[in-house]
């Protein structure tokens, strides 16, 4: 079985010359068809950058130094721009973090979903709006016809996130990159959104790379997980294994530092600063090796 996504030895830097900063230091991971993989890490771990690299949406000052990204067995990073754009939104879709800035404030919800459908599937305006209404119904929006005519500011945050999820699944992609899509939501709304993602995934059969800082979300949604720190995958495996028998001290420390509503207060253990320092020292050693190799 060919992996939907295969990232091998990916190095990404931001900036030039002496100002260059390494953000990914040789990341490898695979996502199989239909798999939901969590990509978990704290801020600065490079998790969002990896998601953007996969989508070919790295910031202008970032570049891939080495490594490959393959989508369904084809070299994605080296693909001509035109061809890659044909895949984005159709075969690979994104559920972004911030539903407010990801929707166009001056276009109606329906028109925005319809645009994706018309562009990729060459539907007529009427067909596209019809399909958009079906998609909104699929993400449990009541009265979808009415919502099609609303502007993004007229609907709640949880609804906006549903609209983006509907858009992501619109063309039945084989891979969805979800970049912290529930971070800004209240817990009860987050649960509904995660349940929806799971329902749509089962129906449409997409694989998902779910970027999050929340081990709880990983536990509930993802079958496999990669733990990222300082641009490196420190540990990966089946979620049940990683959470109950973590091999890497960083994973163990993260779990111990996560407050739990079901346990008394004294169980909390902060991440030892020495551990973080040693991980960064290791990351910088890798950087020096990479520089030496290139010289």
């Amino acid at each position: 079985m060919t992996a939907v996504l295969s990232v091998q030895g990916l190095h990404v830097t931001i900036g030039q010359g002496t100002m260059a900063a390494n953000v990914l230091r040789g990341v490898s991971l695979e996502v199989q068809p239909g798999e939901v993989r969590g990509l978990v890490g704290e801020s600065g771990a490079g998790k969002s950058m990896l998601g953007r690299a996969v989508l070919g949406l790295l910031p202008a000052n970032a570049r891939i130094d080495s490594g490959t990204i393959e989508f369904e067995g084809r070299d994605f990073s080296g693909m001509p721009e035109r061809e890659r754009r044909g895949l984005l939104g159709r075969r690979i879709a994104l559920i972004p973090q911030d539903p407010m800035t990801s929707l166009n404030p001056v276009k109606r919800v329906g028109a925005q979903i319809a645009m994706v459908l018309r562009h990729h599937l060459a539907l007529s305006r009427r067909q596209a709006l019809q399909r958009a209404a079906e998609l909104l119904a699929e993400v449990a929006i009541r009265d979808p016809r009415r919502v099609l005519d609303l502007y993004p500011h007229e609907i709640s945050g949880g609804m906006r996130q549903r609209v983006l999820i509907a858009t992501a699944f619109a063309c039945d992609p084989s891979l969805i990159i979800a970049d912290e899509p529930t971070t800004a939501l209240d817990v009860t709304v987050q649960r509904q959104v995660l349940q929806l993602v799971e329902r749509l995934r089962q129906r449409h059969g997409a694989a998902i790379l779910f970027v999050t800082h929340d081990l709880g979300v990983v536990a509930k949604l993802c079958r496999t997980v990669s733990v990222l720190h300082a641009g490196r995958v420190l540990e990966e495996g089946a979620t049940a294994e990683v959470l109950t028998k973590p091999r890497h001290p960083y994973t163990r420390a993260l779990l111990a530092a996560t407050p739990r509503a079901d346990r008394p207060a004294d169980s909390l253990r902060p991440v030892p600063p020495e551990l973080i320092e040693s991980l960064w020292a290791e990351a910088h050693r890798i950087d020096r090796l990479a520089v030496a190799e290139r010289a």
Binding site: A140, S156, T188, L215, V218, P259, R260, A261, P264
Partner: protein, 286 residues
């Protein structure tokens, strides 16, 4: 009888909505409705709720950044709900607030030596530059920041360090009562745990009384003795933390608790379709 430091009785707050026509009086929107609460001296009360629940407004009422529309607030036996700014001033030193984003409460142009001691200066409690640096050094030490931070600017600090500085500033006047509003929300798990343990330690050492506002029930469990659950401006359930978390009585509390994704694999969690309705229209922001 327990010694209650802060008590609210039937506390309400409403603000006028934008008038839809020129001559009609704007309707009032009630965001805090008849709240009763009591915070014993030396204890920590958690206020939990989702966005729009009124938790931040309630916090701002308790420190009298807002004036209640009706109802009363007693601080150390004195009614402060209807006091004017001049009468409140002596109490301001004893009541402090820590905000979610310390960046907004620290002047970006001031080094920490000045920023942390600004409250002391305002209350005329600084005796010259030497004293200022000594007091700033003490405050840094109190919140676990190294001495060299005294000459740093806020933008040179990491998120966790900035939050420590925000805490230090709130402690400068040695207050009795602090309202902390979502102070660990933007932080990574590893930083968050350090700040939570710092607050716990400070509370023990300084005998602080706290109201800790958070949307995150897990964080509340770590820090608080009591908890009050807010929904649509009303307290739906309150009591000792262990009791509420282990035997929640109100349906909304149970919903909140079951919605938390604990880091345990639980296959039924995603398919348990207790379909809760989603508000269609834009609600009020937190």
């Amino acid at each position: 009888m327990t010694d209650i430091l802060v008590r609210a009785g039937s506390l309400s707050f409403a603000y006028p909505e934008r008038a839809s026509t020129l001559f009609r009086r704007p309707a009032l929107r009630e965001v805090v409705k008849h709240v009763d609460l009591a915070v014993p001296r030396g204890s920590v009360l958690g206020l939990v709720g989702e966005s729009g629940s009124g938790k931040t407004t309630l916090g701002r009422l308790l420190v009298r950044l807002l004036q209640p529309t009706s109802g009363g607030i007693q601080f150390d036996g004195v009614e402060i709900g209807d006091l004017g700014e001049a009468e409140l001033r002596p109490l301001r030193a004893r009541i402090q607030m820590i905000f979610q984003d310390p960046q907004s409460s620290l002047n970006p142009r001031l080094r920490l030596a000045v920023a942390l001691t600004r409250p002391l200066q305002v209350f005329g409690r600084l005796k010259g530059r030497r004293d200022q640096r000594d007091r700033a050094a003490e405050l840094l030490d109190l919140v676990g920041l190294a001495p060299h931070f005294i000459d740093r600017y806020p933008h040179e600090l990491s998120g966790g360090q900035r939050q420590r500085a925000g805490i230090a500033r709130a402690l400068a006047l040695q207050p009795d009562f602090i309202v902390a509003d979502e102070i660990v929300s933007g932080l990574d798990v590893s930083t968050q745990a350090h700040i939570l343990l710092l607050i716990r330690e400070l509370r023990r050492r300084l005998g602080l009384t706290l109201v800790f506002i958070s949307h995150d029930l897990s964080v509340i469990r770590v820090l608080c003795d009591d908890v009050a659950i807010l929904q649509h401006g009303e307290i739906v359930e309150s009591g000792p933390v262990a009791k509420i978390f282990e035997r929640p009585q109100h349906a909304y509390t149970r919903d909140l608790l079951s919605a938390i994704p604990l880091p345990d694999v639980e296959p039924g969690w995603l398919t348990d379709q207790r379909e809760v309705s989603v508000p269609h229209q834009q609600g009020s922001a937190a």
